[in-house]
């Protein structure tokens, strides 16, 4: 039988693995960990266009979602650089699928409804939906989305235009999820459903 192992030999693996484990955890994303101040700042910035009338905001182009990403000056590695995008422009996408275009002539001159703030684990989502005269959902604008975190910006700038497009195609909140943006999807659909529920025409 071998002799009793030294105390150092007994303790070392535990200490080493604990250090590695804690180090690893500290490298992980920590949403909300920067405190509420940064969060509010971000919301303040993004709520600016909220007061503006829909028609005055940016030229309304029917944009393919893939075109949106290069528009925003996002660094390719969202984990490293923090500085450039402090107050990203809200995702402003008006998508008009060709099928819809043919049937309803898409004049978005009906009611516009701003939804409640849907808050979830990574921040808040707030939508503003515009309907046509026939009360068909024809435009969704994202007023607020989580920006306290580069990763959130990246994910949402990818997913939200797709959700906008899907919502218009579906004419409601019954849309499918983009992988990696499940929680945004839940907040988005909840908010859109709230708008639809509050629509005067039902």
């Amino acid at each position: 039988m071998s002799q009793k192992p030294t105390l150092g030999r007994q303790i070392f693996p535990a200490v080493a693995l604990t250090v590695v484990g804690v180090g690893f955890i500290s490298l992980l994303d920590n949403p909300g960990g920067n405190g509420g101040v940064a969060l509010e700042g971000a919301f303040g910035a993004t709520t600016v266009p909220m007061n503006a009338d829909t028609t005055t905001v940016l030229p309304e182009v029917a944009v393919d979602p893939s075109v949106v990403v290069p528009q925003t000056t996002l660094a390719p590695s969202p984990l490293v650089t923090v500085a450039p995008v402090v107050t990203p422009a809200p995702v402003d996408v008006t998508t008009t699928p060709s099928t819809q275009q043919a049937t309803s002539a898409t004049t978005c001159d009906g009611v516009a409804i701003t939804g409640p703030v849907a808050s979830f684990r990574w921040g808040n989502i707030q939508l503003r939906a515009t309907f046509s005269q026939k009360n068909v959902l024809c435009k969704v604008k994202v007023l607020t989305y989580p920006t306290d975190h580069q990763k959130s910006i990246y994910i949402n700038q990818n997913a939200l235009p797709i959700y906008n497009q899907e919502a218009i195609a579906a004419g409601g909140a019954n849309i499918s999820v983009v992988s990696g943006a499940t929680e945004s999807w839940r907040a988005y659909t909840a908010d859109l459903q709230a708008i639809l529920d509050s629509h005067p025409a039902g």
């Binding site: 080493a16 484990g21 804690v22 920590n30 684990r121 994910i155 999820v177 992988s179």
Partner: protein, 458 residues
């Protein structure tokens, strides 16, 4: 240690060297489990798991669903590490104990899984209603149909392994159900990466999670298939089959590949007979003689279909062995005197253990069998004991005919072995007897660390 001549048929040959001693410590195992738990819980907490607990009901349930899901995976990972039968761990703890821990981890995993499902449904039911939530989580959401199938499989496997069910199933049935667990676990992995925000939204965490799962898959493939391939490349052949007692047969396996083998008395192998219809399953059999380069002897009692076939095995049959396994080996004894207790076919490991002891151990052997007809290796046992200044006591007959109610009570043990407290106790046999001996020896003053038990494998 002196090795006097023995009565064993293979005693002329050179004994196999001992397997390398494991340097794994309890604290190492604790450190690994602790660190994995730290990372899993830390990851959950860092992603806002703790903060979400006090929040709205939906957030609280989501957070709890994530925690239980992660812990479920952790139990699965640890359980799979145990089935790799990694030698350094096996040599330290023994396959028997590893199987036991595997079973406990499986049960823990099932409990976490049930909680995870319940919390997930509760979280999704808040905006959508319970029926919609169940619909989403069993099919609508990406990969959830696959995950549902996987979860059902994992639950079935766990239930089929509960002792109550296990006893009602044939080994073959249980084995094939158990194999599906691999598919079950793989099927539920996808949703963790796609739907679980802990991994979907954090590339570093995702890399870590995918990484440890990939490493585990490689490790499993190597340890289960790689080692099997090695074993297949080194087959042994049956060179002797001897009828020892009613329903008890000893089988000697030999081959040139034993030159490089390492093993100790008291250990066992997983034995696979390369016979039509049997090649896919293994039986654990204990060595019943000191392992030598001339051959490994196993003493087998026909008990099930498979061991039955083994007692009738033809000479020259190809046999594949994996092992050796087991930690109840002669190197647990330093210079103390030894008491060996054998029950039924537990005589096999006791003989092979005894053969590697010296006269300084003055071994006393208690041999319990329920019938005279089942007594095996008794002449060999007496010769081995006598050569080592020891003696053999037999206790034969059905329990009801014994003079004492409990043959392993401390009083009886001390009467037969007055210096019991100074001895190392080795016991091999049926579980109930092993427990009775452990209890009796402890009560008679033997320190727990000096009692070594091996379930009899046959």
């Amino acid at each position: 240690m002196t090795r006097p001549a023995t009565a064993s048929a293979v005693s002329q040959a050179r004994p196999l060297p001992s397997p390398k001693e494991s340097r794994v410590l309890d604290t190492d195992v604790g450190a690994i489990i602790g660190a994995l738990t730290l990372v899993v819980v830390g990851l959950w907490s860092r992603h806002g798991g703790v903060a979400a607990l006090g929040d709205s009901a939906a957030k609280t349930y989501t957070s709890l669903a994530q925690l239980t899901g992660l812990l479920c995976s952790e139990a699965g990972i640890l359980g799979l590490i145990l089935v790799t039968r990694t030698p350094v761990v096996e040599r330290r703890y023994g396959l028997d104990r590893m199987f036991n821990w595997h079973r406990l981890l499986g049960e823990a995993m099932a409990i976490f899984l049930a909680l995870h499902i319940a919390f997930s449904i509760a979280a999704w039911a808040i905006p959508d209603g319970t029926m919609n939530a169940i619909q989403s989580l069993t099919g609508k959401e990406p990969y959830m149909a696959l995950t549902t199938v996987g979860s059902v499989i994992v639950l079935i496997v766990t239930i089929s392994s509960l002792k109550w069910f296990r006893n009602k199933l044939s080994y073959e049935m249980w084995y094939f159900v158990h194999l599906t667990a691999y598919f079950g676990l793989a099927a539920s992995f996808s949703h963790q990466i796609v739907l679980g925000t802990d991994f979907a939204d954090d590339a570093l965490a995702r890399g870590f999670w995918v990484g440890i799962h990939l490493a585990l898959v490689v490790w499993l493939i190597w340890s289960r298939w790689g080692r099997l391939v090695v074993a297949v490349a080194r087959p042994l052949r049956v060179t002797a089959v001897t009828h020892e007692a009613q329903g008890v047969t000893s089988v000697v396996l030999s081959g040139t590949h034993l030159r490089k083998a390492k093993a100790l008395g008291g250990q066992f192998y997983l034995v696979r007979q390369m016979v039509k219809g049997r090649w896919w399953q293994t039986n654990p059999f204990s060595l019943s003689a000191q392992p030598t380069n001339a051959g490994l002897r196993f003493t087998v009692k026909s008990r099930g279909e498979s061991s039955n076939a083994f007692t009738n095995i033809a000479l020259g049959t190809r046999v594949i062995v994996e092992g050796p396994y087991g930690v109840c080996t002669p190197d647990v004894v330093n210079s103390e005197k030894v008491l060996l207790v054998a029950g039924g076919v537990g005589i096999g490991p006791v003989v092979s253990f005894l053969e590697q002891l010296g006269s300084e151990h003055e071994p006393i052997i208690l041999y319990r069998a329920t019938s005279e007809k089942e007594v095996a290796h008794i002449n060999e046992l007496e010769a081995l004991a006598t050569a080592r200044n020891g003696r053999v006591h037999t206790l034969i007959g059905p329990r009801a005919t014994l003079k004492v109610a409990d043959p392993f009570s401390p009083e009886v043990l001390l009467k037969v072995v007055p210096d019991l407290a100074q001895r190392v106790v080795i016991v091999a046999g049926p579980e109930s007897m092993v427990k009775a001996v452990q209890r009796g020896a402890k009560a008679a003053g033997v320190p727990v660390e000096n009692i070594h038990a091996e379930r009899a494998w046959w």
